[in-house]
């Protein structure tokens, strides 16, 4: 990593192109994410959200494309499914690949409110708890960049609200740059510093969110941002 890391962007994407069968899924995309910045990425299905996230995560081998891409060395990914190894206990899942950093793992589980469940099997946990373990697994690595691909998409509405509060708390504590892919406009506005809208592989809209915390949908400013974003997504309300 560059020595003056705090002065440069954490993520730099220039003219990124990714093609599947000669169809450009990402079409000359530019994106910068500052250190500690929380960016939410909205878009219809097929707009290239996941392709961008996979490109940043380095999971797009065998995909045709061009462009410049600079990401930090230490990147963590949270998937839509918790993706815990079912044959490893919760703590072992958290410290997977960290060579016995059990104390850090325990602290991390405590942070997500799962102290005491270290020796449980993933199958014994609820969906929300599993996703909290996945968050602990990501944050115990102290990532400079956290990539999250619809991490709350499979959770019920109440659990999702609790997870929003938890994610904000964790991001405040660890200060990673975040790119959150979501299809939920409200979730994007509640969580992010900046929301970008992707369509046909390009960024078509961008909103910096400066609403005071805690952000509430009852706020008139919230409603204004939401209607502009929905417009950009091609949804007329």
């Amino acid at each position: 990593m560059a020595p003056n890391a705090s002065l440069v962007s954490t993520v730099q994407v220039r003219d990124l192109v990714r093609r599947y069968d000669d169809r450009a899924v990402l079409d000359g995309l530019d994106l910068d994410i500052e250190p500690g910045e929380f960016v939410a990425l909205l878009g219809k299905s097929g707009s290239g959200k996941s392709t961008l996230l996979r490109a940043l995560a380095g999971l797009d081998y065998d995909v045709d494309g061009s462009g410049e891409l600079a990401v930090p060395e230490n990147v963590s990914v949270v998937f839509q499914d918790s993706r815990l190894l079912p044959w490893a206990r919760v703590l072992d899942n958290v410290v997977l690949g960290l060579n016995g950093a059990f104390d850090r793992g325990r602290r991390s589980l405590d942070e997500v409110g799962l102290a005491g469940r270290e020796q449980a099997w993933p199958n014994e946990l609820s969906g929300g708890e599993q996703q909290r373990v996945a968050l602990a697994r990501s944050l115990v690595r102290e990532p400079e960049l956290l990539l999250a691909d619809e991490p709350f998409g499979a959770l019920d509405a109440l659990t999702r609200l609790k997870m929003h509060v938890l994610l904000r708390k964790l991001c405040a504590a660890h200060q990673p740059a975040v790119l959150l892919v979501t299809h939920d406009v409200d979730e994007a506005i509640v969580l992010a510093d900046r929301v970008i809208v992707l369509d046909a592989g390009r960024i078509v809209a961008e909103e910096t969110i400066s609403l005071p915390a805690p952000r509430s949908a009852a706020d008139p400013g919230f409603a204004a941002v939401r209607s502009r974003l929905l417009d950009a997504l091609g949804v007329s309300v």
């Binding site: 990914v77 993706r83 190894l85 044959w87 997977l96 690949g97 099997w121 993933p122 199958n123 690595r141």
Partner: protein, 279 residues
């Protein structure tokens, strides 16, 4: 939920018309010690048949004759020494077969080149019953111990290979992706993801392998053997001693049941993360 636990609507309805308890479909409650009833009944018929003389002693010895014969065989040490020889053959063949099956499955499961070279021949071997290879094995290895152990080994390594290989290849690709994002090395990937992921397949293969080992043992011990349970039974056949033959059958049956129980115990221990799903 049963109808009687819904108080409001149901009870008012019941006042007008008594709730008819439906007859439960399906076989109903399990019977206590149900598994023992069939064998005990069989034993009773056998005993009565022998006592009344319906069953000719030359065709089938009486149960008590079998018991006293077993006691005699144990007293003069023949049963133990033959059992020991048989168990040794089965265990050595099983152990070598497991090692061979696992090694081949790992080579062909983890490398495309390995699969290209190994999988075809093994599938061809699978189509040939191990026992059909006996004439060739006798010509190559003679009628000694190595022929017997190799025959058992050939019967054992196929199910181990097939199920372990299948276990390796059906590991969810999402876990492979996870391993990459958390930066696992090749060795850590094998240790943390591949081996535990293939374990259920391996253990299933092991259950087939254990049964296969006893099956092969029975056959090889009846070909020119001079020791083992199979030899003891072959010898008894030439003298028409049905009691000794039945002692041998009981021993084979007990060994089969016991070894399957051991493998299932290992399975339950090793896959305890799965039991939480079943319970």
């Amino acid at each position: 939920m049963s109808a009687t636990t819904l108080p409001g609507l149901r009870s008012r309805e019941a006042a007008a018309r008594p709730v008819v308890r439906r007859r439960r479909l399906g076989p109903g409650k399990p019977i206590r010690f149900g598994a023992a009833i069939g064998p005990v009944l069989l034993l009773a018929i056998w005993s009565i048949g022998s006592a009344t003389g319906w069953i000719d002693q030359r065709v089938l010895s009486a149960p008590w004759t079998v018991v006293t014969t077993a006691a005699d065989l144990i007293a003069d040490g023949r049963l133990q020494s033959n059992l020991w020889t048989s168990a040794q053959r089965a265990l050595i063949g099983l152990a070598l077969g497991i090692v061979l099956g696992v090694v081949l499955a790992l080579i062909s499961g983890l490398s495309r080149l390995g699969e290209a070279v190994l999988d075809g021949p093994i599938q061809i071997k699978r189509a040939i019953p191990s026992l059909a290879l006996l004439p060739l094995l006798i010509l190559w290895l003679g009628i000694g111990e190595s022929m017997k152990i190799v025959t058992i080994l050939l019967g054992v390594f196929i199910p181990i290979y097939i199920h372990t290989h299948n276990g390796l290849r059906t590991i969810d690709s999402r876990y492979v992706e996870l391993a990459q994002t958390v930066g696992l090395s090749q060795w850590e990937f094998i240790r943390r993801v591949v081996l535990p992921g293939a374990l259920p397949g391996f253990l299933l293969g092991l259950r087939f392998a254990v049964t296969g080992a006893w099956l092969s043992l029975v056959v090889v011990e009846q070909i020119n053997s001079t020791s083992g349970i199979g030899y003891m039974m072959e010898l008894a056949r030439t003298y028409g001693q049905t009691d000794i033959i039945i002692v041998g059958l009981v021993v084979y049956g007990a060994l089969g049941l016991l070894s399957d129980a051991v493998v299932r115990l290992i399975q339950r221990r090793a896959l305890s993360w799965r039991r939480t799903l079943a319970s």
